[in-house]
Every structure is written in C-alpha cells, then in structure tokens.
C-alpha cells in the first residue's frame, strides 16, 4: 500500500508540473493571431522580429497584383499595414475579406506574407440576389 501511495503522489506531481508547463506555454501561444493595431504597436516598440500572424480586413481598392503575388493593405479599423504576399491568394480572398496573414515584418515595415488564411465570421446568409428575399431581414430569432 505504501508503494501505491508513493506512485499516486508521483503521478499527481507529474500532472501538476505538466499543467503548469502547459499553462505557461499556452498563455504565450494561445493567441492565434494579432490584430493590425497590436502588431503595428509592437513593431513600433522595437519588437515583432519573429514570425507572426496578422489579422484584419483587406482595404477595398488596395489590392494590386505583383509579379510574385499580391500587394494590399490590411486594417482593423484603427491601424493599417502594407502587406506583400508571395504566392497565389486563396479563392475567397477579395476586397473587404477578413484575412489572417502569416509572415514577418520586412526592414521597411512592410509585412511580408507567405500564407493568407480567410477568417470566417459566425454569420451565415444567402447571396443577396434580386429575386430572393432580403438577406438581412430574414434572420432566425432562435
């Protein structure tokens, strides 16, 4: 019985250590992306050297095609950042689309992205076609 008690205590100790380590790791990494204003502020403060994810909306009218991909601006309503993306943007990429760009800041403070994700919201509605009912007026109240 004494051996069992020691074993149980050891298991509990390992579990506690694992939870603490997980908590420390998670609290730093659990944020999947940074908003544009957070990232810009961090950059202005001298940080933001590593790889990060930048989230915001594509500024309408800012998209231009480049030889290697696209260049556009992304905003969260407060701050705006220039993004140069290498590669083909995803299908749902367009003006006003909510995006998460993966990459790092270049020396000239342009965000060099190599992957664009589309962050979808929790709203669902049909395309606004002339013949159909008005998309926003027919939401369930459940």
């Amino acid at each position: 019985m004494k051996g069992r008690a020691i074993g149980a205590a050891a298991v509990c100790a390992v579990a506690v250590v694992a939870i603490v380590v997980l908590g420390v790791v998670l609290s730093k990494n659990v944020v999947y992306f940074r908003t544009v204003s957070e990232a810009v502020e961090e950059r202005a403060g001298g940080g933001g050297d590593g790889r990060l994810r930048l989230a915001g909306e594509v500024v309408p009218g800012s998209i231009t095609e480049t030889a290697r991909g696209v260049r556009f601006e992304v905003t969260d309503g407060e701050a705006t950042a220039d993004v140069i993306h290498r590669g083909d943007p995803p299908d749902l990429f367009k003006e006003g689309a909510p995006v998460v760009c993966e990459g790092r800041w270049s020396e000239s403070d342009v965000f060099a992205s190599d992957r664009i994700l589309i962050k979808h919201g929790s709203e669902y509605e049909p395309p606004d076609v002339d013949s159909g009912e008005k998309a926003s007026g027919d939401k369930a109240s459940a």
Binding site: V30, V31, Y32, F33, P90, D91, L92, V100, R115, I116, L117, I118, K119, H120, G121, S122, E123, Y124, E125, P126, P127, D128, G132, A135, D138, K139, A140, S141, A142
Partner: protein, 250 residues
Amino acid sequence: MNEGLLGRRVGIALGWAALASLVVLGVLGLVVAPPDAVQGDAQRLMYLHVPAAWLAYLAFGVTAVASALYLWPRTRSVVWDRVAGASAELGVLFTGLTLVLGSLWGRPVWGIWWAWDARLVTTAVLFFLYVGYLALRRIPGAGREKRCAIAALIAFVDVPVVHFSVEWWRTLHQQGTVFNEELSAQIHGKMALALWWSVLAFTLLYVYLLDRRYRLEALDADRDERELERAIAERLAEAEPARVEAGARS
C-alpha cells in the same frame, strides 16, 4: 431476451425515425437551404459538422452522468458502466467526424486543412482523451468500472473547454453562431431550419445507436458469463471421472 435500454419495438421505430430524419436533412441541407454568400456550397458541411460536434458533447455528457451514477453507491449498477462505455464510443466516433468534416471545410474556406488554434487543439485533445478512456475500459482487473468512471469524469473537464475555447482565446475558428454571448443566432432562416433539423436528426441517431451499442455490450457480457460457466462445467466433468478412478484405485 431484451437487454436493451429501450424496448425492442421502440428501438426499431427510433432507427427508422433517425433514418427518415437524415433523409429530410439531406433535402433541407442540399436543396432548401441557400448557399452561403461568402463560402458558397462549402458552408453546407455545417449541417453535418455542427450536429456531429453537438453529439460529441452529448455523448460525453451522458458518459459523465452514467459514470457519476456508477460511482454513487446507491445507484451503482453495471447498467451505468455499460451506458458510459457505449456512449463514449459514440462520442469518439462523432468527435472524429467533427474533426474530419471541419478539416474538409477548412481547406476551401480558410485555405488550410488544420490550424493550431485553441478550438482545434482542444477538440483533438478531447478525441485522444476518450480514445484513452476506451483503452482503459479494456484493461481487466478488480475495480475496473470504478477506475473508468473516475477517468470519464476527469476527461469531461475538456468538454466545456472545447466549447468556450472560441470565447476564451483568440482562434481562427469562428465563434458560436447560435450559442454565442448574445444568444442570438446569426443565421438566415432556412439555414437555421436545416441546422436545427440536423441537431434533431443526429440526436435521434445517437439514441438509436446508444441503444444498439448497449444491447451489444450486454449480450457480450452475457456470452462471457455463459462461456465461463461452460468452462467450469467442463472442468468439473473432467475432474469427476478422475476422482472416481482415484477412488477405485485406493
């Protein structure tokens, strides 16, 4: 012999009801509900992904309640242990389905199959926690049921973490459409109808499958018991002539 949770006829009727409601779901999800303005037809995966996730919660919830009832001395019964096991198996199945369907949806909409965000990771953890629980159930020995019941209660802690992960942490996964903070569904009427129907259809399917799985578990235990009895009878029959022989010799 009827060893199911429900009567035989009720079980069969439930099976047909589940099948019929899944057919109706197919019509609602593919024909009646319009495609999403942004995601197009990929959004229709929601009518499987969301009810599958709901069933995972429900199944693990039932496992937790059954485990608690087993641990409580006044309600302790092998019935609760079997319900817990049967429900956990379904929960693992539907958690796996949630992950796969979500991945299939993520590729066209997000652009990636998998993201290491809090919702996805906690859901994967949920899957492996209950795979572990099912493995634990297979380990024989005294106190097996009690051990498993405690494990089921510990594993259930992850269910609310999965559900609230989109509120607690910043995730790529969208927040709840129906059970959000404002408790107002942000979904178009016909889409909402298909979504609610999918929850109903999957719930029927769950109850039906739980009954079937429970029945199987009970039959399995019954067979084990009979085999044990037969083995004992055989050994006794073997020992009997030997004893007679030994008696004759002495």
